[in-house]
């Protein structure tokens, strides 16, 4: 059911199922409830090992417990938590729209945009820009090994936006033609860097070399408390899909699905908390988590 609805982010679906789990949970104490929730989050991470699911789950847990749970009756506490959970869910369902509204003003008329792989948030942004009667062309990288870029191109064609699919190896070639680069993110880390589909780091380095702005669009539930120093510092459970982690013995033979882009290469991040510079991400994280 998580892969069923293509328009919903996997993290949102995960949180929806967590909320349902909370409703049906039978534990007697708040501590037991929390333990069950953490276990549930871990199970979800096992099925879909994306950064967003893990960060979304943790934020959900924090959000619902961030209220005074001083009621003597457990069921009352649970109701409070469920209420907060629904509020959280509503907020994050709206977050994509907020990001789209913020970002589309940065796309000028006649712009040439480069994007990487398939991101629903970027799609929303481009949709908003097209609805605003702006003319622009989009270059999408093919993004192997799953050819997600081709799916993105199809969706954009449906919106009547001129789009061209380029090879992953052609990023350096195409960079001089484009005006700006917009990518989505699977996770935003504490340093202000992002974790995204493999090939994003390459694109960021190229855009820095050509002095093109590199924008990242992400919802706030993707903020995660990781701090990778370099590519190999990203934990293995995010780099590979869950089925590969379970079946394969030697991970060195496998190809990672994501990479880490350091904050020095990112110009701005568009989130539902506002337009942030990479250094402001840490401030926001401190506010969210502390």
């Amino acid at each position: 059911s998580i892969r069923g609805d293509p328009d919903v982010a996997s993290a949102v679906a995960a949180i929806r199922s967590l909320l349902e789990f909370l409703r049906r949970d039978q534990s007697e104490t708040i501590l037991g409830l929390r333990e069950n929730m953490t276990q549930a989050i871990r199970r979800l991470e096992e099925t879909d090992s994306s950064v967003a699911v893990s960060s979304g789950g943790e934020l959900f847990l924090r959000f619902i417990s961030l209220t005074s749970l001083e009621h003597p009756d457990l069921s009352q506490c649970k109701n409070v938590m469920i209420e907060r959970g629904e509020l959280f869910l509503k907020k994050i369902s709206l977050s994509r729209g907020k990001v789209g509204k913020l970002c589309h003003t940065f796309i000028k008329d006649g712009a040439k945009i480069l994007t990487h792989s398939s991101s629903r948030v970027v799609l929303k942004v481009l949709e908003n820009a097209a609805a605003d009667n702006k003319r622009f062309t989009v270059y999408v990288t093919e993004s192997q090994p799953d050819s997600a870029g081709k799916r993105m191109a199809q969706k954009l064609r449906k919106l009547n936006i001129p789009v061209m699919v380029v090879l992953d190896a052609a990023v350096g070639y195409i960079m001089e033609k484009v005006d700006l680069v917009i990518v989505g993110a699977e996770g935003v880390v504490e340093s202000g860097g992002v974790i995204n589909k493999i090939g994003t780091y390459q694109m960021a380095v190229c855009s820095k070399a050509h002095n093109k702005p590199f924008y990242v669009v992400a919802e706030s539930f993707k903020f995660v408390r990781l701090y990778p120093l370099n590519q190999q510092d990203v934990p293995d459970r995010f780099k590979y899909t869950a089925d590969i982690l379970k079946t394969v013995k030697d991970l060195n033979q496998e190809h990672p699905m994501i990479d880490y882009t350091p904050p020095s290469l990112i110009t701005l991040l568009f989130t539902d908390l506002g337009v942030l510079t990479p250094s402001a991400v840490s401030d926001e994280l401190i506010k969210l988590y502390l």
């Binding site: 504490e190 120093l229 250094s279 840490s282 401190i286 502390l290």
Partner: protein, 518 residues
């Protein structure tokens, strides 16, 4: 003028502390003298302790509001607030301002205990042309080439009966605004024994600082706090005085003495701020023994929380960043970094360490000794071999003396060089620092505020010959022995604090959160 000098010198020779009446008399004479003197010094302000001058405004109201009839004694006595960077106003304007203010001050003081009102009225008047109500002055220790500031310091030390230490040797012109002392002439030479003004354990501590026996910011802070515990233990409130106000005043000459021995570090400054706040928060109805016990418990908990437990928390975070097969580079001897490496080794991580060292302190040898004793595989190089060794390194761990509010890291000289070369080789640089070392100062270069160590340390004897022995005779030769330098945040990838792992640019956020907590 002559009368005042004889009075004060007579008292000093007796080695007794000035009584309240004598202090008041001195104060009146000084004020008379100042009224007659025609100079365009800035508007008078309350004399702040030297270390507080580099500390921001919020701390000032806390210590100045408990103004008391007796407390103004050392405070009002020094109205010679000569900040060198005051904007130039017309002399007549200043004089009129000052006279009006002195009149109002005198009437209010003689009438009631309205010290608090006076502090509020003097400070806004101090800067009529500036928007903010508080003026930050340059601390004395970076104004050594300004004779007015030196005179002010001399007067203050004379009043507190603390010996003034004189500078030694020729100073390189870029750093002529800093003190440069010689280890061979400690300030304790000028103190008579038994010293009744300065507590003996403070004298001992000052000597340990100036001779370099206690070095390293954590060690210095802990030693300072333990000594203060001893001072509080031996303290007894004089009659008609309140502990919360009198004890703070007793501590000021000690602090001046310690900063004469060796300039205070940022961590020591924060510790002193904390103690003063705790002391002034003691309620007046508290009995002496109870108050003393409370203060000692506060100090113990400060040491425990901010230093010991913080280093445990930092080790936990840091160990996550150490993976098997790592080659870690460390510089000098940082107690925190050594602790992290020892803990990581206990947790069975496989790594090896490269210790980089530099003259004249050669602190790396101490770090090497500690790590080898644990059984960690180490390599030892001098800093000149840095670019040779860096391609082998996977991570750099650095300690910090202080973290400034704009994200710059102040640490032992040589650190910024290591960070620069590591950046060029794309090696991640991690700085480990407890939050009590976070400082609200802002500095972008290593010149403005630094410490000059004894230049004679640079003299090296090899094969029986010491070439620099007679460096003082060569007029064009200056020896520079810097202690600290400042690393910009672009070179630092990660700062590990007890609050977690933060980027270097988030230091002001932590400071803000800390201030909210307090």
């Amino acid at each position: 003028m002559g009368d005042r000098l004889t009075a004060s010198t007579m008292l000093q020779n007796e080695g007794k502390e000035l009584t309240k009446e004598e202090k008041q008399r001195l104060r009146k004479e000084k004020k008379q003298h100042k009224k007659n003197k025609k100079d365009d010094k800035g508007p008078p302000e309350k004399e702040k302790e030297k270390e507080k001058a580099s500390v921001p405004a919020p701390s000032k109201p806390a210590t100045q509001s408990p103004a008391h009839k007796a407390a103004p004694a050392p405070v009002h006595a020094s109205e010679s607030a000569a900040a060198a960077e005051k904007p130039a106003k017309s002399k007549a304007e200043l004089r009129a301002e000052r006279r009006a203010r002195q009149d109002s001050e005198r009437t209010s003081k003689q009438g009631k205990k309205e010290g608090g009102q006076q502090s509020a009225s003097s400070k806004p008047k101090a800067t009529p042309n500036e928007l903010q109500p508080v003026v930050k002055r340059l601390p004395e220790h970076v104004q050594v080439d300004d004779p007015a500031a030196l005179k002010k310091l001399a007067k203050k030390l004379e009043r507190q009966q603390v010996p003034l230490r004189s500078d030694y040797g020729y100073k390189v012109s870029l750093f002529s605004h800093l003190h440069q002392y010689s280890r061979k002439s400690p300030p304790t030479l000028q103190i008579s024994i038994p010293a009744t003004v300065i507590h003996p354990s403070i004298v001992r501590l000052g000597l340990q600082y100036s001779q370099g026996i206690i070095a390293g910011s954590n060690a210095r802070s802990v030693a300072l706090l333990h000594t203060f515990k001893q001072v509080i233990q031996d303290y007894s409130t004089p009659p008609n005085e309140e502990l919360s106000r009198d004890l703070v005043n007793k501590l000021s000459p000690y602090i001046s003495f310690l900063s004469q021995c060796r300039p205070l570090s940022a961590s020591m400054g924060n510790a002193i701020k904390y103690i003063k706040k705790e002391i002034s928060n003691i309620p007046s109805q508290c009995k002496e023994e109870e108050a003393k016990g409370k203060l000692q418990a506060c100090i113990d908990s400060y040491i425990n929380e901010k230093i010991i437990l913080a280093s445990e928390a930092i080790s936990k975070y840091a160990i996550e960043k150490i993976s098997d097969g790592d080659v870690i580079l460390v510089y000098g001897c940082s107690s925190l970094v050594n602790h992290i490496l020892c803990k990581a080794f206990e947790k069975q991580r496989k790594f090896r360490v490269i210790v980089v060292d530099s003259r004249p302190r050669l602190e790396g040898r101490e770090a090497l000794r500690r790590l080898v004793k644990k059984g960690i595989r180490c390599t030892y190089v001098l800093i000149s071999a840095l670019s040779y060794i860096l391609p082998e390194v996977s991570k750099v761990f650095l300690g910090a003396h202080a973290l400034l509010a704009n994200g710059y890291v102040m640490s032992r000289v040589g650190t910024s060089q290591i960070a620069l070369v590591a950046k060029a080789y794309n090696v991640p640089v991690l700085v480990c620092c407890e939050t009590y070392k976070f400082c609200e100062r802002v500095q972008t270069d290593s010149f403005v505020s630094n410490e000059l160590d004894d230049p004679d340390d640079l003299i090296v004897t090899r094969n029986g010959k010491s070439h620099l022995e007679n460096w003082q005779t060569v007029k064009s030769l200056g020896l520079l022995n810097l202690v600290y330098d400042v690393t910009p945040p672009d070179f630092v990838d990660l700062v590990i604090t007890d609050l977690g792992m933060i980027p270097c640019t988030s230091v002001p956020v932590v400071l803000r959160v800390k201030n909210v907590d307090q």
